[in-house]
Amino acid sequence: MNLHEYQARALLAAVGVPMFEGDVASTPSEAESIARRIGTPVVIKAQVHTGGRGKAGGVKLAKTPGEAGDIASQILGMTIKGLTVHKVLVVPAADIATESYVGIIMDRGTQRPVYMVSSAGGVDIEEVAAKTPEKITRLPIDPVYGLMPHQALTLAFSLYQDFAHVRAAARILDQLYRVFVANGASLAEINPLVTTPGGRVLALDAKIVIDDNELDRRPDLALLRDESAEEPSEVVARRANLSFIKLDGNVGCVVNGAGLAMATMDLVKFYGGEPANFLDIGGSSNPEKVINALKIITSDPNVKAILFNIFGGITRTDDVANGIVAATRQFKVKVPIVIRLTGTNETEALKILESVGMRALSDMDQAVEQAVRLAREAP
């Protein structure tokens, strides 16, 4: 789960990471009064879950509180990469001497959190990593002992020469690591970490991604989810316990299991079609899940055919058949449905479908080809 910059700032501020005063606004008048309180000039920053905000016109300078209000009214409601801006962050526009990058990711290879720091900050760190990897210092952290004081100092020495800066940065590195662990993050970064002409070291922008698996035991973090910043159909799907990602194609896919769901999408493409979504109904699929899945998929006007691909290992295929029948009774599905189903309780499932005049295939390739053809031939 991605946090907004202002939410990440709050987590960092709570452990004492130094940063410029700033606040979040959802209306132009709020932005104006924040600017008045913290002093101008200020920077108004769109709070959306995507990079490239600046290029899209979502980050702007305001010289007076009045201008802060005007600019906020331009940015609020604008769309950046398909996401509507509902909140802006108002922070002082300060003089900056240097910009560095400090961040922690959970690394699969070492199976540990890995600290990455670079004096080439303020830009996309992935680009730095790809083009000039020598500019990044990497340090795996033992999760049992945490970041040791000498490690924090060593990382800080790779950023700064001035020992006052080093000491301040080491402290921030320790604080960031604590935030990373305490909130079950998979990524926590300060980019840029800046020095001011006056010699202070401050966090200017922050990004935190929380491991979704933490949310069940951390309702306080789950509350930070901003559903207005997500694709509406994905919000509905999550509430129905479905793993769903909307795509741009016209073949709607309902599959059990993430790997098979991906393989099904790939096969749609293989046969010349485009998948409209990724959807995993999970292992123990009750009919209710199937109904919800069909509701979500049919609400996408691009969908011209729906493909069920169910391999009943643990999933009972008769549950899925019952779900399909119940759904088509509840609401009219206007596009053709192709069903591939095989495995546990297959005979019962076929009877259930036959009783309402529906049929199922047992071969995955056949079903995908048919769904792709029907989508292509659709009016």
Partner: protein
Amino acid sequence: MSIFVDRGTRLVVQGITGREGSFHTRQMLEYGTAVVAGVTPGKGGQRFDDKVPVFNTVAEAVAKTGANTSVIYVPPATAAGAILEAADAGIPLIVCITEGVPVMDMARTMPFVRSRNARLIGPNCPGLITPGASKVGIIPGNICAPGRVGLVSRSGTLTYEVVNQLTRNGIGQSTCVGIGGDPIIGTDFIDCLRAFQEDPNTDGIVVIGEIGGTDEQNAAAFVKQHVTKPVVGFIAGQTAPKGRRMGHAGAIISGSSGTAEEKLEAFEAAGIGVMRRPADVVEMLRKRIP
């Protein structure tokens, strides 16, 4: 005639009285797995289905029954603790089925598992099966058949799809291992490839990977250097968008890394037969195994 589990496997089920645990214990018993014990704290002294003795701790189960393998069906919040308990009790093979284990928990758990010389399979995996001998986890027994092809996969139902293709076409399996779809897992492709290479009863290997991370690339490098048996591979997620978690926590393309293309290229460079569709597995294996 297999890797990791065989007729000598004596299984303890952690979470045997739970909904998932009890359902799958019955399936494993029906398959013929030697389920010798169950563990549910507070229910020690009971018998599961009048058959399997239930203990309060894994250590007790090991002491009384000689269990040498554990399978875990407990909720995500307690899964890491269950793994630690099994490792501490001296269990050499621990299979964690639980989905949704916080990654930070796994980062803290793995060093301890290694310090006890235990092998963890999973979490978030379907387990493994040596057809005709022992099934540990949730892979449906009826789609498998004994034979000489080893299979290792990050996925559940996609594995079933491929295994089913094999069995229906008369190609049996030595062992099928689901290693799990999480970012941090106990056993990776290389561990399984090494074991299959050393197993005298495995003639060929199927590797089923997916987007995210570099495990498949590492596996390809290992195959090139150390595996002489024929290997065929599949990568799911060729149409997946970047930066989105495709169900499995580990199935995410970050930046330009973890894409299906780079994995398929690595496979090809290592001489692994690349399957374009799951159905290709049969023909590709037949071509490569004399």
